[in-house]
Symmetry: D2
Subunit: 239 residues, 4 copies
């Protein structure tokens, strides 16, 4: 776990995957930059590698993460994504082990250590409760608890899964943040996930496939803030 | 074969792999930029993905290529390198099928077609004569005939291999350019390869491991020009 | 190309993939063994690795092939399929580069050489005309010209594709046999493909998904013989 | 964790990898079969897939494991190793995630569940303490705690690593057996590892590279028994 940057909940992750790049990516990033400030919600964006440096230079509030990196050291390795190069491009962190870019257990462990070493926040994806718990032993900064079977379906994780995974991860290492993903289609879904106790959520298809991605983004970040404040106020009253 | 850009011999390829990135990469690229102009030799550089856009913006004469790309279409595919994103970052081309990033035959064929589609020059690596000939049927712009067993050894391909591979590739498609690599350590090696009939050559370790990479680069590009002119004059006399 | 065994056309390939194993595999193999003798058609079966030795021992006429093998030498490589082990189990040959088990160009080339070395007939899959031609330069014994997009669809390659691929492969190396696959559902499909000029065909789903696989197998092998004899008679008249 | 077979310590694993196959594999297996009975030590052997059925049929006391299997269901998947096929060949279990055949975290989790489902004992390799602990959450039958950097070096894990990994795994699930590997070269190494508290150990290179593999095998299994009895007697005295 890299300690140089603390990402305070609530936060939200936007995954452009291979949907967006270049000018359109920049346009969405600028909308996210505004929404982040407007609603005081941290936003992680994982652009194509080639767009990292541009987004870092052109935005003020966003947390730009690489979609993946390889655990190799400086040297050989043509075609790889070098941790030091990701850091040098200005990225804040790196996503690892997404269902579309699975890593061997050994490479995942090494990549988290490499992220710590070069100063990158690591956000690691887990398909099941058991995998989330296993990954917690590798001490990444953030775990995405996202049942693979729900990715892109528009069906969200139920409240029980959210509470169970968050609790199981925190039991092993309370410093790990937990992002609850899968199936976020609109502001209401975001609201529900945060109200159910999540510190963070995110989406790819929910924004990429929206009629107006920038508007959908604003709606979702607004929902994060609204839900978070309601949870927070309740806690203030109760405790 | 992408026809939008013609790379005229002689040319030279520098492969920084995972050795160089950020500021040091930029420094070497600027030296290459000068050498390219000074000696009128086209230079291809394949930086880390994250440095492509920066090198495109900061240099005038270089041909910036991605180290690899995936043949996927716009859409899903987290962690992939999207052809359209490589193009949008300003790259001129893409390297494919290097021994350190091997591709399945089917993916390689698709990636060359995708390069043609988005407007990227394709440079494809071949380990043996048979593979070079096979790849020629996929019509990339450039084939690197580089026996894998020589990579990084400081031992160069012999003249017979250079003539045999170049001739075999041209027989299938005379428009494909042939780069003869493997084992280039200094200007003399470069001179010998070009004199033996190569249209292009290149190196990774020869420059990365040099005491002064910028000086070695200048020496090598100078050698390209010297050898090429000698071959050219001979041809002028003869024909 | 391994010269120790000549597989004379017409022949037929049955690919049980991960559908059949153990007793059920043996039952189908025995039915194929009978059909091979009855119709004088060579039948290649590619069982799970664990069933190779059993099928070799329990049948008389079949050609048992591995579904894949790795090009590694004797030594390390846990989890690999060693060429010498495939040969020692009694296999006649090995399939390579199927769309469900793609190989890098370099590994494919090495695996064909390894097959030659240990004495295994190599049957290599190609997705497109260009790939079939490229693979022909590696001199396998048999090329499967099977457009990946048709696998399992029940839609067969058209006559033009059959003639074009067969002719293009033979032009590079007339000793390579060509198997035309993809989309074979019943005896009529088999008949049509052989009549269109194929030396061989085959199927996975056509037999695995049949109500009675043994009956469907008999129907298909019968169709091979019928179509082949008709083509052969025409040739006798013409030449 | 498959509960149908209990493997009682002490036990020993021999990994022929791609070193042995066919007749020579059978010869070593028969020596192991005798040693297992002679010293009352359970012996796991992981032959090439093609030799599983033969070793099951030709030996009485051995535990034959596959070197790997894929988590796929019955159906498509040419070139894969189907769990049901491994079971049908008579295997007792399967090794997973060896450093030479790494699996993604998600595939590893699924493969362990598939092993449970078809009735195979799972033995999973871990490179580091953290990975061993993570894997423990997936409930395999056995974990191999084997620092990758020591594989084939002739240098053994130190006592502290043995105690620390065994204890950490048992803390998560006391039913998981722990095999301590890496660097076993002779009987003395085996003795030391068992004396240090291991329930099991094993080797590949220690036997494959011995002047007389059958003799070395006997020496090692003898050492397992001797060390185990010494530890056991001490325990009897103490408790």
């Amino acid at each position: 776990m890299y300690k140089g940057i603390i990402i305070t909940p609530p936060f939200f992750e936007i995954g452009p995957k291979a949907y967006l790049y270049g000018e359109k990516m920049l346009k969405l990033a600028k909308a996210a930059d505004k929404a982040s400030k407007k609603y005081d919600v941290r936003i992680i964006i994982t652009p194509q590698y080639t767009d990292i440096r541009m987004l870092v230079q052109e935005t003020d509030n966003l947390l730009i993460f690489a979609q993946h990196m390889d655990p190799l050291p400086i040297g050989r390795g043509l075609g790889s994504v070098l941790p030091e190069a990701v850091k040098a491009a200005g990225a804040t962190g790196v996503m690892l082990n997404h269902a579309e870019k699975p890593m061997s257990m050994s490479d995942l462990y090494k990549a988290i250590k490499r992220a710590d070493e070069v100063g990158l926040v690591s956000i690691v994806c887990a398909d099941t409760l058991e995998e989330a718990v296993a990954i917690a032993h590798f001490s990444p900064n953030i775990i995405v608890a996202e049942p693979t079977k729900l990715i892109g379906t528009g069906q969200t994780s139920d409240d029980e899964y959210i509470i169970e995974t968050t609790s199981a991860i925190k039991k092993i290492n309370p410093d790990i943040k937990v992002l609850q993903g899968a199936g976020i289609s609109n502001g209401q879904d975001v609201y529900n996930v945060i109200k159910a106790g999540a510190e963070a959520t995110g989406t790819t298809s929910g924004i990429m496939k929206a009629a107006n991605p920038e508007d959908m983004l604003d709606e979702m970040i607004h929902a994060v803030r609204t839900a978070w404040d309601e949870v927070y106020k309740n806690q203030s009253i109760n405790y």
